[in-house]
């Protein structure tokens, strides 16, 4: 019988990535309903030092595949290793981070082991209600009480869909980074280490990495940004550094209102940064409107953002009617303080 919640933990340069710890956290929540152990699958080269961290964040067992073949991420050796884990351990559930690595690896594995895969999920739960159990059974699921329901956005986030994988195991999904929560670190927690020896051959290394470069990502299109710190007239003509500093802490980009872009003296606000009817339509996870009044043409370009927080001096500014959180105050004072608070938060978060 398929058993266990398996997290394929992403590491880069030998360091476990946050998304892996987030998924282990989510797995502990699924475990509360399913009862199965949480397995962290760690692949890499010379990475045994990272194993304890996986216990501290909730893994019951760690499966370690340590090999020169896994030093850099290459599709085939990683696919082979994860496939071997599936064949040997027969997992009930297997989750990957929906990063540029997880989204390369998971579909190869799912195809090789002939099971379903749900992409970029934002919500996971075990089937529980009568309707859920019934639907699973109606779709051929033999053990509905062990079925996973996976929710993901579609059509540019306009719709949410909940999917199931009723007839094949493991039930597999990739999960968006930053959505699930880590559990609190417990350094006294320990677990069982399983070292898996995978027999790689030179043919497995079917591509050659000529150069591996770490780089700061270049300025992205604001329509692609997950977080936008957006400046309006109220932010001032010299607001760029202040906006940029905050965006950097949030992993986001800087955008602007038309008032800023049209203002010749406001040099930082370029056309490609403009949000609104005549600018770009954006739907980031967070839109932080700084000193933007919220004219209709501006709102048309950002109203579909997941979370809108507006800072404005004027408590009757129309931007507040489309904001989840409105802050009446001086953006030039509040934003730098927010940046400082985020800096501290990010520093504390580092494991």
């Amino acid at each position: 019988m398929s058993k266990g919640i398996f997290i394929v933990v992403e590491q880069r340069d030998g360091k476990v990535q946050n998304v892996g710890l987030e998924l282990i956290g989510e797995a502990t929540r699924l475990k509360a309903d399913l009862g199965d152990d949480v397995y962290a699958v760690l692949l890499g080269c010379g990475i045994e030092g990272e194993v304890n961290k996986l216990y501290h964040f909730g893994a019951d067992k760690v499966i370690l595949v340590d090999s020169d073949y896994l030093k850099n991420y290459v599709t085939e050796p990683y696919t082979k290793a994860v496939t071997e884990v599936v064949n040997k351990f027969d997992p009930e559930i297997m989750l990957f981070g929906a990063s540029s690595i997880g989204r390369d690896l998971a579909p190869r594995v799912a195809s090789r082991v002939k099971t379903g895969l749900v992409a970029d999920t934002t919500g996971l739960r075990m089937a529980k209600t009568e309707q859920e159990l019934q639907q699973e059974a109606a779709h051929g699921c033999k053990d509905p009480e062990r079925a996973l329901l996976m929710t993901r956005p579609a059509f540019g986030g306009n719709l949410l869909a909940t999917l199931m994988c009723p007839r094949t195991k493991p039930q597999m999904a990739t999960v968006r980074p930053g959505v699930m929560k880590k559990i609190d670190k417990d350094e006294t927690r320990t677990g069982e280490l399983i070292k898996l020896d995978v027999q790689f051959t030179p043919e497995d290394m079917n591509v050659e990495i000529i150069e591996a470069v770490k780089a700061n990502k270049k300025m992205v299109d604001i329509t692609e940004a997950k977080v936008l710190v957006s400046g309006g007239r109220g932010a001032g003509r010299d607001a760029y550094e202040m906006l940029r500093a905050c965006a950097d802490e949030l992993g986001g980009e800087v955008s602007a209102s038309r008032a800023c872009v049209d203002d010749q003296a406001c040099e930082w606000a370029k056309t490609e940064m403009q949000v609104g009817q005549t600018g770009k339509t954006v739907r980031p996870d967070l839109y932080l409107a700084c000193g933007i009044s919220g004219a209709i043409q501006h709102v048309a370009g950002m109203e579909n953002s997941d979370l809108v927080i507006a800072i404005n001096k004027n408590d009757t500014a129309p931007i507040f009617s489309v904001s989840d959180l409105g802050i009446v105050g001086d953006v030039k004072k509040i934003l730098p303080k927010l940046t400082t608070a985020l800096k501290k938060y990010n520093a504390d978060k580092l494991v």
Partner: protein, 264 residues
């Protein structure tokens, strides 16, 4: 040299409207386009064609109306177009879809280079490309942002990561999945459009492919994943406006909100 580019016709999701009562997508009047990543893939293939004289087959799976996307690809300069279409294929998830497209590619003859977009804007899964690669047993590089060298037996490409890039040498036959940065698509030419409408679009249906398919793994019934329900994104609760508080209290309120919504 032969290149196959897989494309998908998608609704332009910028303009998507949802029926508030049924929660379904309102398809009437919705503009359809070639998926942007796929279009970058077409352009990259055209650049290789100009350099090497390769021929390009463009392939799309979808309803008969998807021939509009195929004709656009022909008008851009692709040589042949193939529509994979059958009632039996409807409702296929990514596993089933990739199995069908892989069978079609085997039928058409393996290319040296297979290109798909990284992901389509309607589903955003990024799964079909790698799953085709797996079913054809060829190596892949996904998230390709630059093709630096093309020879008869290998390519050198730049693969994007969130925090950097790899320069990768890969032997042909191989799969590349294209991201928008790979190439800025050219416009159709007038003569290209005229020519495109005089060309025949080859159709591969169930009969042509059935001998090479896992028959229990196609369509709605055979797809390993099934939709349990779909629903429109929840409308926002009315927001709160905070005033007459100190700057520090206001910053704390913002931080709490960011944590609550998992932004940080």
């Amino acid at each position: 040299m032969k290149i196959i580019v897989c494309i998908k016709q998608v609704p332009d999701t910028v303009d998507v409207k949802i029926d508030p009562k049924t929660g379904n997508l309102i398809r009437e009047g919705l503009p359809v386009i070639i998926n942007p990543d796929d279009k970058a893939g077409i352009e990259a293939a055209l650049a290789i064609k100009e350099q090497t004289g390769a021929t390009i087959q463009v392939v799309s799976m979808g309803p008969p109306q998807a021939d509009v996307a195929l004709r656009e690809a022909l008008a851009m300069g692709c040589d042949e177009a193939v529509l994979i279409s059958a009632r039996e294929f409807g409702g296929s998830d990514t596993y089933a879809t990739s199995g069908i497209i892989a069978a079609a590619i085997r039928k058409l003859g393996m290319p040296e280079i297979l290109i798909t977009g990284r992901q389509a804007i309607d589903g955003d899964t990024a799964q079909v490309g790698p799953q085709i690669g797996e079913k054809l047993h060829i190596p892949q590089v996904s998230y390709v942002e630059e093709i630096q060298e093309v020879t008869a037996d290998h390519l050198i490409v730049k693969r994007q990561f969130e925090d950097g890039y790899h320069i990768i040498k890969i032997k042909t036959p191989c799969l590349l999945t294209a991201i928008g940065e790979l190439a800025k698509p050219r416009y159709m030419t007038v003569s290209g459009i005229v020519e495109a409408y005089n060309k025949e679009i080859k159709v591969l249906g169930f009969e042509e492919l059935k001998d090479d398919l896992e028959l229990d793994m196609i369509g709605t019934k055979g797809s390993p994943t099934n939709v349990y329900q779909s629903f429109p994104k929840q409308l926002k609760a009315p927001g709160t406006v905070l005033k007459d508080m100190s700057d520090d209290e206001l910053v704390a309120a913002i931080m709490a909100k960011l944590e609550e919504k998992h932004v940080i």
